[in-house]
C-alpha cells in the first residue's frame, strides 16, 4: 500500500468514511427514531438528532401482550437450529472430507443443489406436512424446516475447515490409540470450532430473520409466534405507529448485531478460509 500516492489515499479514505456513514445511516435512524418522542417522529421536518430522548416507544413495544414471549420464542428457535445444525453439519462435513466412498461426489453435488431450493416455494408442501405431523402452531414447525434449509450451506462451508486440519494429526491420534470417535470429538471438533462459529452465523441469521414460515405455520396460537409477527402488529391501516415499529425493529436487530460483533473476527477469517478452499 506504500505505493499508493498520498493525495489519492486521502481521497479514498474520505470516500470510505462517507460510505460508512451512508451505510450506517439506516441503522442510526432506526435507533434514533426508537428513542424519539412521538411528536418528533410524526414531524414534517425530521431532525437527525433528538433533544428529548424517550422510552415511550419501547414501553409500547414491551407492554404489548406477550412481546417478551415472542422474543424468547425467536431465541429458542434460532438457538435450537444453530446447535443442531452445527453438530449435524460437522459430522456430515467430516464424512465427505475425511473419507473416500462411493457416491461422495454425488452427495456433494446434491448438497450444493439443495442450497438452491427456493425455501419459499416449499412453504405449501411443508404446511401440509407440518399439519400431518401435528406440528402446526408449535415451534417445532419452525425449527425443523430451518434446520433442513441451513444444513446444506453449513456442510458446504464447513468442508474447508475440516479439510484444513492436517491428515497427519489424524494418523498420529490413531497410532496413539485414540478411537475414531475420540479423535472426532476431542481433536477435530475443537480445531474446527472457529469454522462452526462462522457457519452458525448464517443459520442463526436465516432462522432469526424468518418471516414467511413464522407467518404461515403459526396461525392460530399466538403464544407460539416469533418476533416478526410482533413487528407487523404496529403496521396499521389508518396510520403506522412508526415509533413502535422502529423500537420493535431495534429490539429485533440488536441480538443479531451482538452475535455478529462477537464472531466478526472469525467470520471474516472463516469466510476467507471457506472460499479459498
Amino acid at each position: 500500500m506504500k505505493l499508493v500516492h498520498r493525495p489519492w489515499r486521502l481521497a479514498a479514505e474520505a470516500f470510505a468514511l462517507l460510505a460508512a456513514v451512508v451505510v450506517a445511516f439506516p441503522l442510526y435512524w432506526m435507533v434514533l427514531s426508537a428513542f424519539k418522542p412521538a411528536g418528533e417522529i410524526q414531524s414534517d421536518t425530521p431532525r437527525p438528532w433528538t433533544l428529548a430522548p424517550s422510552l415511550d416507544s419501547f414501553r409500547r413495544v414491551f407492554q404489548q401482550e406477550e412481546f417478551g414471549r415472542y422474543f424468547l420464542n425467536s431465541l429458542f428457535v434460532a438457538g435450537s437450529v444453530v446447535v443442531l445444525s452445527a453438530l449435524i453439519a460437522f459430522l456430515a462435513a467430516t464424512a465427505v472430507t475425511r473419507f473416500k466412498f462411493r457416491f461422495r461426489t454425488t452427495l456433494l453435488i446434491m448438497f450444493l443443489v439443495a442450497q438452491m431450493v427456493p425455501v419459499e416455494a416449499l412453504t405449501i408442501p411443508l404446511f401440509f406436512q407440518m399439519r400431518d405431523f401435528g406440528l402446526l402452531n408449535t415451534l417445532g414447525a419452525l425449527i425443523l424446516p430451518h434446520l433442513a434449509f441451513s444444513l446444506p450451506f453449513a456442510i458446504w462451508m464447513l468442508r474447508g475447515f475440516v479439510k484444513a486440519v492436517p491428515e497427519a494429526l489424524e494418523e498420529a491420534a490413531l497410532i496413539d490409540g485414540a478411537s475414531r470417535t475420540r479423535f472426532l470429538w476431542q481433536i477435530l471438533f475443537p480445531l474446527v470450532f472457529p469454522g462452526l462459529v462462522a457457519t452458525s452465523v448464517f443459520s442463526f441469521i436465516s432462522t432469526w430473520n424468518d418471516f414467511l414460515f413464522a407467518k404461515s405455520f403459526i396461525i392460530s396460537d399466538t403464544s407460539q409466534s416469533t418476533l416478526p409477527m410482533a413487528l407487523l402488529l404496529f403496521f396499521k391501516p389508518e396510520e403506522n405507529d412508526w415509533g413502535g415499529i422502529m423500537a420493535a425493529s431495534t429490539v429485533m436487530t440488536v441480538p443479531v448485531l451482538v452475535f455478529f460483533v462477537l464472531v466478526q473476527r472469525r467470520l471474516v477469517s472463516g469466510l476467507g478460509g471457506a472460499v479459498k478452499d
Partner: protein, 318 residues
C-alpha cells in the same frame, strides 16, 4: 495461481509428508463410518427437503384448493392443467419478467458495490477501513424484515428524511411501480453487498502482495490491476458470490412483501416468490402456487448446473 487458490488440497509437496504415505487415512477401509456420520444430515434432508420437493411437484399436478384442504372434496389429477392455466395467464409472464430483470439489477448492483468497496478497503489505513467494515457488518446483520421497515420509514412520504433531503415533498415511493422496485433494490443492495465485500476482500488479501506491487511498479493503473491481475485470480471467489447473489435475489420475498405490502398496488411489484405465496395462501389456489414453485425450482436448478459446469472447468475439486 488459480490452482493454489482453489485447490490447496492437492499441493505438489506437503510439509513433512513422505512421498510414500497413503493419500488419505480414512481411505483404507472407511466401511460404514462415513454413512454413520452422514445419517442425521441425510434423514433431516430427506424428510424436510426432498420429500417436500416431491410433494410440491405432486400438488402442482392435482386440483388442490380450499375444498380439498378441508377434506370436503377428493383431490383430482389435473395433469399439466395447472401449468397450462399458468402459462396462458399474461400476469405470470409479466411477473416472471419482472423477477428476472429485478434480480439481475440487484445482482449487478450488489456485485459492483461489493467489489468496489473491497478494493477500496485494501487501499486505506486501518481506521477508515474499520469504520466501513463495521458499518457494513451492521447492514449485513440487519434482519430482512427490520431492514425493510427501516428503509420504508426513511423513504416515507410524510415523515421520512430522504424526501426532505432531496426536496421531493410528499412523493410516495411505493405508489409507482418503478420507484417501488427502486426502493426495494436499494434495500437489497444495502443488506447484501457486505457479504460480497467481505468475501472479495478476504480473497484479495490472500493474493501475494508481490504480485500487486509488481503490477504497480510496471505502471498499471488501478482499473488495469483489477482487470488483469485481481479479477482473474479472484475468479473462483467471484463465481461463488455471483451465484449466491443470483440465488438470493431471485428468491427475494420478505423485502417485496413488507415494503410493497404484499406485491404492490394491483400486484405491480409481484415477484415469483410472492406471487406463489399469494396464489396459495391468499387465494387458496395451492396447486397454482405449487406450479409456480416448480417453475422457480427449475430455473434455479439451471443456474446451479451452470455453476457446477464453470466450477468443473476451473478444475476445482469437490
Amino acid at each position: 495461481m488459480t490452482q493454489t487458490l482453489t485447490a490447496p488440497a492437492t499441493p505438489p509437496v506437503r510439509k513433512g509428508g513422505g512421498g510414500a504415505r497413503p493419500p488419505r487415512s480414512g481411505s483404507r477401509r472407511p466401511g460404514w463410518t462415513p454413512w454413520l456420520y452422514l445419517a442425521p444430515a441425510l434423514v433431516v434432508l430427506a424428510g424436510l427437503l426432498v420429500y417436500p420437493v416431491y410433494q410440491l411437484g405432486l400438488i402442482s399436478v392435482l386440483e388442490y384448493t380450499q375444498a380439498q384442504v378441508s377434506g370436503g372434496e377428493p383431490t383430482s389429477f389435473q395433469g399439466l392443467g395447472n401449468y397450462r392455466q399458468l402459462f396462458t395467464d399474461p400476469q405470470f409472464w409479466q411477473v416472471l419478467t419482472a423477477t428476472v430483470v429485478f434480480a439481475a439489477l440487484c445482482v449487478l448492483s450488489t456485485l459492483f458495490v461489493g467489489c468496489a468497496f473491497a478494493v477500496l478497503l485494501t487501499r486505506i489505513r486501518a481506521l477508515p477501513r474499520l469504520a466501513l467494515l463495521i458499518a457494513s457488518l451492521g447492514a449485513w446483520a440487519t434482519p430482512a424484515i427490520t431492514g425493510s421497515t427501516v428503509w420504508m420509514f426513511l423513504f416515507d412520504a410524510d415523515f421520512g428524511p430522504v424526501n426532505r433531503l432531496l426536496g421531493l415533498g410528499d412523493f410516495s415511493w411505493t405508489y409507482g411501480r418503478y420507484s417501488a422496485f427502486a426502493l426495494v433494490l436499494l434495500e437489497v443492495v444495502w443488506c447484501s453487498f457486505p457479504f460480497v465485500m467481505v468475501t472479495v476482500y478476504a480473497g484479495i488479501r490472500a493474493v501475494p502482495t508481490e504480485v500487486l506491487e509488481a503490477a504497480s511498479l510496471d505502471g498499471a493503473s488501478q482499473w488495469r490491476v483489477w482487470r488483469s491481475v485481481l479479477a482473474p485470480m479472484l475468479r473462483p471467489i467471484l463465481l461463488v458470490v455471483t451465484i449466491q447473489s443470483v440465488i438470493w435475489d431471485f428468491k427475494i420475498f420478505t423485502q417485496i412483501y413488507v415494503m410493497t405490502d404484499g406485491g404492490g398496488i394491483a400486484g405491480q411489484n409481484l415477484v415469483l416468490n410472492v406471487y406463489a405465496y399469494q396464489q396459495a395462501f391468499a387465494s387458496s389456489e395451492y396447486s397454482l402456487g405449487a406450479a409456480i414453485g416448480v417453475v422457480m425450482l427449475l430455473i434455479l436448478l439451471a443456474v446451479t448446473l451452470v455453476y457446477l459446469r464453470l466450477m468443473r472447468r476451473q478444475g476445482e475439486e469437490l
